[in-house]
């Protein structure tokens, strides 16, 4: 009965966020526009070096920098609606397990980040990799992208909850977020790089990196799940 109730509460929380976003498109549009601006900056920077550089060799780093910066913008906004008129208190007043609140918000963030990635990653390929010779293993980047985005959404949800009531929360979130997700980023950049390059004999690194990223997701999301009650009542 309790599980059924928690499942319904989870669905209600998720549906509320999705309905608001469909009505305003605030988060998706702002993240999308920001991502395109970052791509424009990349374009300006890389235009100066002409054909002397092989973009494929560092495309993984560029792609993950784009994802992290775009995520930060979205994560900062994800609690904006909850705090603007005190709605988070309204949710916490209800008999809802705090872990359910975390899971619903993390799922919303994951969903929105994945939607933005579906648009932005092809744009990245179009702008920077359209003339490059891509390895046949390139489609494998989907795996580190998915595993990495799960971790970014999970940890980002916990950290943005911690910073919502602080002064300078935008900066504080970035200061906390980047060091905390660094192991995940490192693993994902490594796996994405291997997939882009497609050098034979390096696929052990791909799977090891994906494994590390997956392990990070499990450990950090479990920790966030457990800590959420403490974080929201602090």
């Amino acid at each position: 009965m309790a599980k059924l109730s928690a499942w319904r509460q989870y669905k209600a929380l998720l549906a509320k966020d999705v309905r608001q976003e469909l009505r305003t498109r605030e988060m998706l549009v702002s993240m999308g526009v920001y991502a395109v601006l970052v791509l424009t900056v990349y374009g300006a920077a890389l235009a100066q070096v002409g054909d002397r550089l092989q973009v494929v060799s560092f495309a993984a780093g560029l792609l993950w920098a784009l994802i992290v910066f775009t995520s930060l913008l979205g994560l900062n906004r994800s609690f904006g609606r909850e705090t603007e008129t005190g709605c988070l208190d309204g949710i916490l007043l209800a008999p809802v397990d705090r872990a359910v609140v975390f899971l619903a918000k993390a799922t919303t963030n994951l969903l929105f980040l994945l939607i933005v990635e579906v648009v932005v990653v092809p744009l990245f390929f179009l702008f920077f990799l359209s003339g490059a010779e891509l390895a046949p293993t390139t489609p494998l980047i989907a795996l580190p992208l998915l595993v990495g985005t799960v971790g970014v959404a999970g940890m980002g949800t916990l950290l943005s909850t911690m910073t919502i009531n602080t002064r300078g929360k935008d900066v504080l979130l970035a200061i906390l977020f980047i060091p905390v997700v660094f192991p995940l980023l490192y693993a994902c950049v490594s796996a994405t790089g291997v997939a882009f390059m497609g050098v034979e004999g390096t696929f052990g690194t791909f799977w090891t990196s994906c494994g590390i990223a997956f392990g990070y997701d499990i450990v950090m999301i479990a920790a966030a799940w457990g800590l959420y009650e403490f974080v929201v009542s602090a």
Binding site: A12, K16, T85
Partner: protein, 250 residues
């Protein structure tokens, strides 16, 4: 869940607070506050800025934990079993706690789902009628005036039919007409369920005193006085309040 309150001289107690201390770093927001309140009573808490009123209300709402002390609400230990109490508490704040991009109905349906698993349509329809917003049920809350939002906020706080209603500066930002409507609505809500207990924090001595059955002055985190309204004269209470603030106790 049915929660039974404690007893004091045959009366059922809805709120029992003892030795409440809340420390924020070096600042002590509550410093040993103690009081109790019978079920069905309306308590107005007065005090200057920084007296600890909102901190006290957040602890009663189970949104914050005290550093020390005990809190029993409706006979349940609020620190040990807050989840048992949450379905029995409603909070009306100066913040509407409503989503501007959802309609009036969607807001109530969302909060109702958190309590009942699914929207309680009959209760939502009834509440929209009580707060006279039935005709705007499908309009986004962002388009509502402050007064209308506060009326819908009352409906939101009552969606779970709570036994204890907490009000945090509910008059903030309301024009005189909206204040009148708000008082009328609270009166109607009190009649709807006479055993419902209210605790209101207010800066406004006149309005707060008019609404209450019990009045409390909080200063520097301590209860300076708590009295039944019919046992004190309004002027005497007002003088006591001003003296408390003026003497620097607050």
């Amino acid at each position: 869940m049915t929660a039974e309150g404690g007893l004091r001289g045959g009366a059922v107690l809805a709120v029992e607070v003892d030795g409440l201390v809340k420390q924020f770093g070096n600042r002590r927001a509550l410093d040993g506050a103690s009081f109790s309140l019978e079920q069905g009573a309306f308590l107005s808490i007065f005090g200057p800025n920084g007296a600890g009123k909102t901190t006290l209300l957040r602890i009663l709402a189970t949104l914050s934990r005290p550093t020390r002390g005990t809190v029993r609400l409706l006979g349940v230990d609020a620190l040990e079993e807050p989840e048992r109490l949450r379905s029995q508490i409603g909070l009306i704040s100066h913040k509407s706690m409503l989503y501007g991009d959802l309609t009036a109905y969607e807001n109530l349906a969302f909060f109702s789902s958190l309590y009942d698993g699914a929207p309680n349509r009959a209760r939502i329809d009834e509440l929209l009628r009580i707060v006279e917003l039935d005709h705007r049920r499908n309009d986004c809350v962002r388009t509502f005036s402050r007064g209308m939002q506060q009326r819908l906020s009352i409906a939101r706080a009552l969606v779970n039919d709570p036994a204890l209603v907490l009000l945090d500066e509910p008059y903030s930002g309301l024009d005189p007409h909206a204040v009148e409507l708000f008082d009328e609505l609270i009166g109607r809500v009190r009649t709807e369920r006479p055993d419902r207990t209210f605790v209101m924090v207010s800066h406004d001595l006149e309005k707060g005193f008019r609404m209450c059955s019990h009045a409390l002055i909080l200063a520097r985190g301590q209860v300076v006085v708590m009295a039944e309204k019919n046992r004190v004269r309004r002027d005497a209470f007002r003088d006591l309040y001003l003296a408390t603030v003026g003497m620097g106790v607050a």
